[in-house]
């Protein structure tokens, strides 16, 4: 169900694309289609490594911009994230990222392409946007035009990236590894945006629904969601995915993300005595909701958003978080059982060396791993150009062992699969032990995000 329109217009600076298209047109007589209509069931085009039609159409890209950001042996990356204000706790991501890049640079840098012997230092320029979408757009424009970065990296926030979407796609600048599990990055009209390894929100809901179907098929579900696009995506997906099952949503309450006061909302939900509780919340609202739930004497099956998986937040909820379900794409740094893994030891060492961050914080681990993923994408690119790197990212084949990636996970993309974080671990929180524990085998929903997402969001 992955729609892809093709836009063919006149002379281009990517002769290769034109040539390939001509070949295909002769071969299949189906290459042409109407302009950028996104709704045509265009051919999905096999992307065999022999070099068939690229997934990313570079025919309208400004000329001569393909190698911007690479000078000498330095690749400049740019990011925009909240370093002040309400979402300042996400600065921890930056600390993880920098630790990785510092470690990599100390080893000589990233080799692009792998095996060529040519190594590059990575320079990361960060800008503060205080989570304000308007500032992100300004930052992105500045990074592209003034700082002249090669690629954007791990820009935080759904709205923030949506605001910059048009610029990034018109200027053909890769916006890689967006820090948001939103499904809008699967919109094929905007091929220069790639989400990071965060589990897409609909997959979280899917996992929860599957769990309920198996363990409590007639469950009544209560939902607490943040009053923003983040919370909305959980609620909408749940409504979609319970169609045709015996599960019902009995009440949905919203809360103001700027205040994290959820007591009355949860009290109201608790009064329904629902069997299950979907917590589409983040930051302090998570422990507060769990506490309110405990206070009400309500003991449903809880699913908590993966964005709250942090020793700090779960610890604050204490007993009330015991047994809740959530997911993670990474190995949990707060679990002492993982301490002996070589990838974990490296991570702990380097984070301690290069920053003052708490390495057991999942947010730092996320930053580290995403940086490692960026390096891997670069390594896999045959050429150090924006179009080549973006094409590689769209056609990513997981070589395993990226940062704190779960052993056995597959992070890959293809012409029909626009999401990375589709294999992950269902986990449960053990309040006595103080850390999460895996529940069951690795979940593999590779390639399924698009069909599980509310279509209105996917194509918006």
């Amino acid at each position: 169900m992955n729609h892809r329109g093709r836009d063919r217009r006149g002379a281009s600076n990517s002769l290769r694309a034109l040539a390939l298209c001509t070949v295909l047109a002769l071969a299949f007589a189906a290459c042409g289609s109407s302009r950028r209509s996104g709704n045509t069931t265009g051919n999905t085009g096999a992307s065999t490594p022999g070099g068939t039609t690229p997934i990313v159409d570079t025919s309208n890209c400004p000329a001569g911009q393909d190698s911007v950001g690479v000078s000498g042996n330095t690749i400049t990356l740019g990011t925009s994230l909240p370093e002040s204000g309400l979402y300042a706790p996400f600065t921890a991501i930056l600390k993880g990222e920098r630790s990785y890049f510092n470690y990599l640079n100390a080893q000589g840098g990233v080799e692009v392409p792998k095996g060529s012997g040519k190594k590059y230092q990575i320079k990361l320029v960060d800008k503060d946007d205080a989570y304000d979408a308007a500032r992100t757009v300004t930052n992105v424009n500045s990074l592209i035009n003034d700082t002249k970065v090669f690629s954007l990296f791990n820009v935080v926030g759904t709205k923030n990236n949506l605001g910059a979407r048009d610029t990034v796609n018109s200027d053909c600048v890769p916006d890689l590894l967006i820090a948001s599990g939103a499904v809008q990055w699967g919109n094929t009209k905007f091929p220069w945006m790639l989400g990071s390894e965060l589990v897409p929100y609909p997959l979280e809901v899917r996992v929860f629904v599957d769990y309920l179907k198996k363990n409590k098929p007639n469950a009544k579900i209560a939902v607490l969601k943040a009053n923003d696009d983040f919370g909305q995506s959980y609620a909408e997906t749940l409504t979609e995915l319970i169609k045709g099952t015996n599960l019902t949503v009995v009440q949905t309450q919203g809360y103001d993300p700027e205040s994290s006061d959820v007591k009355s909302a949860v009290t109201s939900l608790a009064a329904t005595k629902a069997d299950a509780f979907l917590l589409g919340a983040t930051l302090l609202a998570c422990p507060n909701a769990l506490t309110a739930m405990g206070d009400a004497g309500w003991k449903p099956i809880v699913y908590m958003s993966g964005t709250c998986v942090s020793k700090l937040l779960l610890g604050a909820a204490g007993k009330n978080a015991d047994g809740l379900l959530t997911v993670t794409p990474l190995v949990d740094p707060a679990d002492p059982g993982n301490a002996s893994l070589p990838a974990m030891q490296l991570y702990m060492q380097q984070v301690k060396k290069y920053s003052d961050a708490d390495a057991t914080d999942g947010i730092v681990a996320y930053g580290w791993t995403t940086a490692a993923l960026m390096a891997r994408i670069l390594e896999n690119s045959p050429k150090l150009t924006r179009s080549s790197v973006m094409e590689t990212a769209r056609n990513f084949k997981d070589g395993k062992g990226i940062g704190l990636e779960l052993p056995g996970a597959t992070w890959d993309t293809s012409a029909t699969d626009w999401f990375l974080g589709e294999t992950f671990q269902l986990i449960t929180y053990d309040a006595t032990a103080g850390h999460t524990k895996p529940l069951g085998p690795l979940v593999n929903l590779d390639g399924k995000t698009a069909e599980l997402s509310p279509q209105s969001l996917l194509h918006s």
Partner: protein, 293 residues
């Protein structure tokens, strides 16, 4: 019925939070005649101090006392250093100064203590929730309301029954005349700010352990505290408390019973305020200003 009572208790709990800060706002208004935008951030800074002390192992009660004392002093210093130089300027200028403090304190807190979330701030009392007949009563709410009542009593006794209180009232109603009468106006002003800061600090130490501490913790509370003070009347401590309780209860009852407004819950408290102010422009308990022509 039990659900209604529980939400009522929730509302009272939240209301007590707003009222605590509103009380401090009223105090400042009665001394300096302005709206102190920085009230929440002053309380925030105090709360971070509290966290700092408890993080370093101080027993909770000691930490609270230390924080309140330091905040008391801090409030007086702020009045002397930041407010006094502009006290004769227009109220607009004073508001700008408090806005400057608001921005500065919020940011200083992040630089000094870090922008990460702090959880598990200790309470001075055991946390317990009773559930008689499905109604939730938590010690958090009881303690907060109890402290609030105590504060009101103390302030009442102070202002109505002591010489200090008399001097205070003199200065806030007419600084010039009271100076002529020999009342040390400057010191009274400092006292007002010091008390407000101490009240805010106590409020923070009691509230934040239930909510979690981060740099934005006080901002939404502040908005509701403004609303509470406006509803009750800016120059009335009783009004602040009643206003706070009304706002809190309105909020939680709306959440429970008017679900269609679930994402615009704020409409209710503000609509309430507008209605009240249309009927009584000085707030429920405020005093009318007489304007001489």
């Amino acid at each position: 019925m039990s659900l209604f009572l529980t939400q009522l208790m929730n509302g009272i709990g939240n209301g007590a939070i707003y009222a605590s800060l509103a009380l401090a706002l009223v105090l400042i208004y009665r001394t300096t005649g302005i709206l102190n935008f920085a009230q929440g951030e002053m309380a925030l800074y105090s709360t971070y101090l509290f966290w700092y002390f408890t993080d370093r192992g101080l027993p909770v009660i000691v930490a609270i006392l230390l924080t309140v004392v330091l905040s008391f002093i801090g409030g007086a210093v702020i009045e002397r250093v930041v407010i006094r130089p502009v006290e004769k300027s227009s109220p607009l200028v004073l508001v700008i100064v408090t806005i400057g403090m608001f921005l500065a304190l919020n940011s200083i807190v992040q630089v000094q203590f870090g922008s990460d979330i702090k959880t598990n701030l200790p309470r001075a009392y055991p946390r317990h929730v009773w559930r008689p007949g499905d109604v939730q009563i938590s010690t958090d709410t009881l303690v907060l309301v109890g402290v609030l009542i105590l504060e009101c009593l103390v302030l009442y006794l102070l202002f109505q029954h002591t010489k200090l209180g008399l001097a205070f009232r003199a200065v806030s109603s007419n600084p010039e005349s009271s100076r002529l009468a020999g009342v040390p106006a400057g010191r009274m002003l400092m006292l007002g700010w010091a008390l407000a800061a101490a009240l805010g600090a106590l409020a923070g130490c009691l509230i934040i352990p239930t909510l979690g501490l981060q740099a934005s913790s006080m901002q939404s509370i502040l908005v509701f505290s403004f609303a509470a003070a406006a509803l009750g009347g800016f120059d009335s401590p009783v009004g602040a408390v009643v206003g706070g309780l009304i706002v809190g209860v309105a909020q939680s009852l709306t959440t429970q019973y008017i679900k269609s407004l679930s994402d615009i819950v704020l409409v209710v408290p503000f609509a309430l305020i507008l209605i009240v102010l249309m009927v009584r422009p000085q707030g429920l308990f405020g005093s009318r200003r007489v304007e001489r022509v």
